[in-house]
């Protein structure tokens, strides 16, 4: 569809094509609102300060992943090498 543009290069809002486009956008927004797209909610338990409670199952899983990441980076060995060897 050839959309007519103004001299400034923007879409000409007075054209039939623009009005059709606008109508489709409104329809799409309405459909999205109707489908009730829910906000993603975290199930992670938080401490009073708002941080993830690491004593929960989910918190422990996060810690386990972090420990694996530290291990894969040789975090302890690198520190020992830098400080003592």
């Amino acid at each position: 569809m050839a959309v007519k543009t103004t001299a400034a290069g923007k879409m000409d809002k007075r054209t039939k094509e623009y009005k059709e486009l606008k109508a489709r956008l409104v329809k799409a927004r309405a459909a999205k609102a109707k489908s009730g797209a829910k906000k993603t909610q975290t199930t992670l338990k938080k401490t009073k300060s708002g941080k993830v409670d690491k004593r929960t199952k989910e918190g422990k899983a996060i810690c386990a992943r972090m420990a694996k990441a530290r291990k894969s980076k040789n975090s302890l060995l690198n520190r020992i090498k830098r400080l003592f060897r």
């Binding site: 401490t47 941080k51 530290r70 291990k71 040789n74 975090s75 520190r79 400080l83 003592f84």
Partner: protein, 143 residues
């Protein structure tokens, strides 16, 4: 490393004892310690399991005595490296609390590491582990 692997395992078990359980995160950290010290992974796991059995029913005072007894067996040349391993284990839950600082300094003292060096090593670890969280909340007040 001149220090016996079972001595290292006993010290790490004493650190885990404070948390109560030998979970996946502690197992992964124990593997990392074994790797860093060039120890056999399976043997070290056996030493860790045996040490966990020894510490699991100890009272807080008895656990301290246990840690001090094993800290004395660490070769003087290895104390810094062993302290690094202890920090890694104690902080593997990703949070540094006041209670853990207290325990770490007690461990440093047992290893005959001066307080200033122990604090500097802790600062160095916090600096190099960006995901480590420093908590000013009391250990039993977080819920």
């Amino acid at each position: 490393m001149k220090t016996a692997p079972n001595t290292i395992a006993s010290l790490l078990a004493a650190c885990i004892w404070a948390d109560g359980e030998y979970e996946e995160v502690e197992r992964t950290t124990a593997e990392e310690v074994a790797e860093a010290f060039g120890l056999d992974d399976k043997d070290f796991h056996k030493y860790m399991t045996a040490a966990m059995v020894e510490v699991q029913n100890l009272s807080p005072e008895a656990a301290t005595t246990y840690a001090v007894k094993h800290a004395e067996k660490v070769d003087p040349e290895d104390t810094g490296e062993v302290y690094q391993a202890i920090m890694q284990m104690m902080l593997c839950d990703g949070v540094l609390t006041a209670g853990e600082v207290h325990n770490l300094l007690a461990m440093a003292e047992a290893l005959d590491i001066d307080r200033n060096s122990a604090v500097l090593m802790l600062c160095d670890m916090v600096k190099t582990e960006p995901e480590l969280e420093v908590s000013f909340e009391s250990d039993d007040e977080e819920e």
